[in-house]
């Protein structure tokens, strides 16, 4: 299991200090009685593993990790200070050719300029085992097959290729990565699951009492072993030696992790253990606490150079503030103007971030920054304009679920602004160039955030999108059965997230770019007089597109005319495809799609048959689908509305949601039958 190295070093946060271990068990259920153990020997293989041709638990898996072992220990070096050693030992059975590349391994590590900031890899050993003429043949990794590559200025990679690897081989390698505390203070997150099955995943850590880590577990698998015992830890320095606790966690027979659509991020669903350093405490030497309570987190933030202190800088915004203050005294207008200014002035660099990189003033001068730069700047400007505005910390969807009951700063990775005008509140993110104030980009929609007020303690606020994926399509047309033609006008309005997506894609483009896209969605239409309104004038309004069209109906035969009245915005496919679902469904935003059609019948024709009306509701007012066709005089009116207001559904609700969409697809496929009246 090669994890890529994350060069995250919170520069403003120096970290050394102590206490007890918080241990939080979430989804794990613990199997206390099964205690069969597996302790292989490095360099020694059993025949059964070599004879295996398919993994019993997953017949098509291209490889199975027979053993995935990690052990983290701490030691003290007089020159380099505290060191964390991560010992990795992997044994993999190759079942298919597609897994052969697992024998090419890269171990990335950090290599700073000073010797105190350099990680290194030691004790690298590798073996390949094969059965040849029914004999076990072992090939050892040769030193010359190991290469060290300077990857970037501060990162190197040790690479090696194991020899004689073929289908049926078992490969094994082991190494230690030594990290000075100057580089890394926290063990990497350990995942008990991967893209292939893992037979035995064994994670060990010996934590001396002077280090306090918060450990968080997540996922859907049960622990096979969960042991902890007090031990004496000798780290090699009198003032650090002392009691500690040794932990061991084992997950057995973990199936391959399979990704599903409509999830936040894989890491939210994988079984794993993650760490955050809470404190370091060496009596008489160091004592430092890190965010152990939310109050602590808040205080850390308030005092941090890269956050609280930045919120105090406002000089560079004075000119803009005066300009806006002069223009209006209305708070809502002020908010809109300030938002627009920051949105237009700043270019988002595409990164999230919990702290301002070079400070918000520098970012303002550069006209470029991360989301924290941009939204802290907005917060400052709004405060300067006399508005009640505070930053909200949150975790983006890609960063994963935010655990409210685990106070830790690393849970967050993104900052937005929160403004309150009267009783109304607004979530603001000025990093998104085409978003109206109050519309958060999808990445920021992940349940909750923590609001950090100017004074006092912070609080969690629920972040629900106000807007949805909203589309309204209308058709007014004449049916001309004698010519086999339908002719009329079409319009579509994009609102909410649809408008944001539309503008992000086409606002800066010539009209014909979108016209070509539209043509592709309705290739049989002859389109004329296309007009696009409000491309980017007012983000609060919808984007409105209209055109005239003409379409030949291929199923016209003299006297009878079949046609599907949902001529635009038809749901042709069910977005949920899998039969079952084990993870929750997270749609991020709601859906609101409407279609209204008015079709005028010619003289002498009548509606022979029409689809039945239908109304379907999702439980708990989660959504509604209504469909109706009726005839008023010589006009056929068609109405379809798909609305999903809830964005999160549990696995038990999957079948309902799938059925809901199924009914939409079904109704949207039904044609009308028009017949010539017999005289």
């Amino acid at each position: 299991m090669t994890n890529s190295l994350l060069p995250i070093r919170l520069s403003g946060l120096c970290r050394r200090n102590v206490l007890s271990i918080h241990f939080l068990l979430f989804f794990f259920t613990f199997n206390a009685f099964a205690q069969d153990d597996f302790k292989p020997k490095l360099g020694l293989i059993d025949r059964a593993s070599l004879e295996m041709t398919a993994y019993p638990g997953d017949s098509t898996a291209d490889a199975v990790v027979l053993y995935d072992y990690g052990k983290v220990t701490f030691s003290y070096d007089n020159l380099k200070g505290l060191l964390m050693t991560t010992n990795i030992w992997v044994r993999i059975k190759i079942l298919k050719e597609s897994a052969l590349d697992r024998a090419s391994v890269g171990i990335p590590y950090y290599e700073g300029q000073s010797y105190k900031e350099q990680e290194w890899v030691e004790d690298l050993k590798g073996y390949t085992y094969n059965l040849e003429n029914n004999q076990i043949v072992k090939t050892e990794l040769e030193r010359k097959a190991v290469r060290r590559e300077k990857s970037t200025d501060y990162h190197s990679t040790t690479k090696f290729n194991l020899a004689n690897v073929k289908k049926g081989s078992v490969i094994e390698y082991s190494y230690s990565l030594v990290s000075p505390f100057n580089v890394r203070t926290e063990p990497k997150t350990w995942t008990f699951q991967s893209s292939v099955p893992i037979k035995w995943s064994d994670y060990n850590i010996v934590v001396p009492n002077f280090l306090d880590y918060k450990m968080t577990m997540g996922g859907f698998l049960a622990l096979h072993m969960n042991k902890q015992e007090p031990v004496n830890v000798s780290v090699g320095h009198a003032s650090f030696d002392g009691p500690g606790i040794s932990y061991r966690f084992v997950v057995k027979d973990a199936p391959a992790f399979v990704n599903e659509p409509f999830i936040t991020t894989e890491m939210d669903y994988l079984s794993k253990i993650a760490f955050e350093l809470a404190s370091v405490n060496v009596p008489g030497q160091i004592h430092k606490n890190y965010s152990q309570t939310w109050e602590n987190v808040d205080r850390t933030l308030d005092e941090a150079k890269w956050f609280g202190v930045e919120l105090g800088r406002s000089g560079f915004l004075k000119e803009v503030r005066d300009e806006i203050a002069k223009t209006t005294t209305d708070p809502l207008e002020r908010m809109t103007l300030a938002y627009k200014h920051v949105q237009g002035h700043m270019k988002w660099d595409g990164t999230s971030g919990l702290y301002s990189g070079d400070g918000i003033k520098k970012a303002y001068d550069n006209r470029k920054g991360n989301a924290c730069d941009i939204n802290l700047m907005l917060t400052v400007l709004l405060r300067e304009l006399g508005l009640e505005c505070d930053p909200i910390l949150l975790s983006t969807r890609a960063h994963g679920y935010l655990h409210q009951h685990i106070p830790m700063l690393e849970g967050f990775n993104y900052v937005i602004a929160h403004a309150k005008i009267g009783e109304k509140t607004y979530f603001l993110d000025a990093s998104e160039p085409f978003a109206k104030p109050g519309l958060l980009p999808e990445r920021a929609l992940n349940g909750y955030g923590r609001l950090i007020p100017k004074k006092g303690v912070g609080r969690f606020v629920e972040i629900n999108p106000v807007d949805s994926d909203s589309k309204l399509e209308m058709i007014t047309a004449n049916i001309l059965p004698e010519d086999g033609v339908i002719k009329g006008s079409y319009s579509i309005s994009y609102g909410g997230y649809e408008a944001l997506d539309w503008r992000s894609a086409y606002a800066a483009q010539a009209d014909n770019v979108y016209q070509d896209v539209l043509k592709k969605t309705v290739p049989e239409w002859k389109i004329q007089n296309l007009a696009i309104k409000n491309k980017a004038d007012d983000y609060k309004g919808t984007v409105n597109v209209s055109c005239d069209f003409e379409i030949e109906d291929e199923n016209a035969s003299p006297g009878v005319f079949y046609f599907n009245p949902i001529m635009a915005g038809r749901w042709v496919k069910n977005p949920l495809k899998s039969k079952e679902r084990i993870y929750p469904i997270d749609l991020a935003t709601g859906i609101s799609n409407s279609f209204i059609g008015n079709f005028t019948l010619p003289e002498g024709y009548a509606l022979e048959e029409m689809p039945k009306a239908e109304i379907i509701m999702l439980p708990d007012k989660g959504g509604k689908f209504s469909y109706q066709v009726r005839q008023v005089g010589n006009v056929i009116q068609v109405n379809s509305m798909v609305q999903v207001s809830r964005t999160r559904f549990m696995p038990e609700e999957y079948a309902d949601l799938k059925e809901f969409f199924e009914r939409v697809v079904q109704k949207h496929a039904q044609p009308l039958v028009i017949k010539k009246k017999s005289i």
Binding site: A103, E609, E662
Partner: protein, 647 residues
Amino acid sequence: MQKFQSLFWKTIICTALSGSAPVLAQTDYSVAKISPALAKDADAVIRVDELFWDIKSQAEGVQRNRLVVTIFNEKGEDQYGSTQEWYDKFRKLTELSGTLYDANGKVVKRLKNSDIDDRGDGTAGDDISDNRVKTASFGKKSYPYPYTIEFITEVRTRNMMAFPDWTPAPAEGSAVEYSYFRVKTPAGFAFRYQECNGAPAVKKSKDAEGSDIYEWTQKDYARPRSDDAYPLPHYDRIPLVFTAPSDFEVQDYKGNFNTWEDLSRFYYTLNAGRDILPPNMQEEVKTLIKGAKSDREKIDRIYKWMQGRSRYVSIQLGIGGWQTIDAMTVSKTGYGDCKALTNFTLAALKVAGVPACAALIRAGKEAKIKPDFPSSKFNHVIACAIAGKDTVWLECTSPNTKPNFMGSFTGSRPALLVLPTGGKLVMTPDYKAPQNVKESRASVKLTETGDGQIEARSRYTGLQHEPRVQLIQYRTKEEQEKWLVSHINLPSMDLNHFELAEGAEPEPSVTEKLTLNVRNCATKTGTRLFIKPSLLSRPFELPATTDRTTDFYLPVSEYNFTDLDTVSYEVPASYKLETTLPAFQIASAFGSYELKTTYENNKLICARKVVMNGGRYGSKDFAAWVDFLKKIRKADRAQVVFVENKL
């Protein structure tokens, strides 16, 4: 003295003819200087793009590039905001500098070391490579548009196997004011060049020192953005000037690339003597082929044996990545790159006494070399073995491909045989419509409400079997199921059961069996049931426009196919046929389409046959192509209508 003067004059005249000389190139980079016609709708305008290729000797050259670009928006920035140059021990990066100008042409910033990122080429993966790449950009700050960036790079190379190519064409949506390419060589030095696709013609001259000068200049060239669905391949579309060596040196090797024979001989020399297996392995090979009845059988056995004991690893080290790891080493480690694994296979074939050689090729979907211009544009090596009158091609990096299957990666293109006396270009196996077949049979049992139970069985060959054989070889059951579910052309369904199996015949094939439950397989409205004859068939998209002024290309890797689909519906007895049965027959230069339906004893049988022939077609044929697509789409939308029996 007299002589010197006339030479001097000649230079001046030439300079004037070829437009502005490098020294005279515009230095005022204010945006106002750009002609409105070029700036209109442009993401970026290249003000100056100069490429100097100074050939010092057969063993050394210096390549210098100066690129000045005015950037108008984010797209232009993505395209031109940074520059990249790779280097290794043969190729030294001697300069990488840059300047940023504001809209008035005033210098705002100069490139600093901290703006340059330096990383190993293999960083992203586990590839082993000694190439490194430097990337320079001003990206730390956002500058108001428009602004202008200048980058200068200079590389000194001692690998003279490959010369630079030049194109004046900017990226789509951008324009160029002035693009210039100059090759400078010692007097009388021979090299080769080729101008393609409307590239400007060369101007030859001599400079004051007597060096030969070759110049190509292009001015005011805009390249509008296009969402052409059928572009010609890059090498047939963009103006290009290729250059290549005649005599050259690299490390201790001398070579010549005047002809394909020369190139073949050079590659042979570079790798000669590396194809010897250790004695024990020679014995293994001899045992392996014992009792083989023909050379073809020997080849098949050796290929399978090699596949079973080797794995592909990307290794780009040493002499331009052209020299192979010897067969002895591969015998021991069991891994290697394409050169090493091909060489190892050839070594084994040699022991078996089967005539075989390596073949250089440009691999990749739709990739090709230019047969009329010998140069080192290859990126892959395969083996070519001879069995009597037949050629058997072997892809040695694949652990499971069948012998002689080249597919979309290396099929239908020229390859250069590597022989001591110099080999020639030969074509690898071609994959046309008759080779790439899907033949499917589906039976559908319909309920009165239109729900369907489908049993389908399809057999795929040639290029059509590729994605599915990869599913079998590289994907788990869950992934296979997901892939199938997303590739089955139905609005919604439950895939109850599926099977994918490789055929046992020498010609590779995959058989796919599906059992599906489809709600609303036929659409019920009131008393009628609408049935689609083209269920489960490949859909066709229409292009956005029907106008065309240039030739168009239907990629042979996608458009050479034959689909034979038969669907047989069992219609509930309570319905009777209301409409006439659809029947279509469409013929065109691009292929043909046929749909037949019959109805008998409550069985509706629909047979659809599509044959397509990819390739290059003239612009005047485009209307016919769109018309063909429209007719097919219309035929595919046809429905058969049934109505309840009123008793």
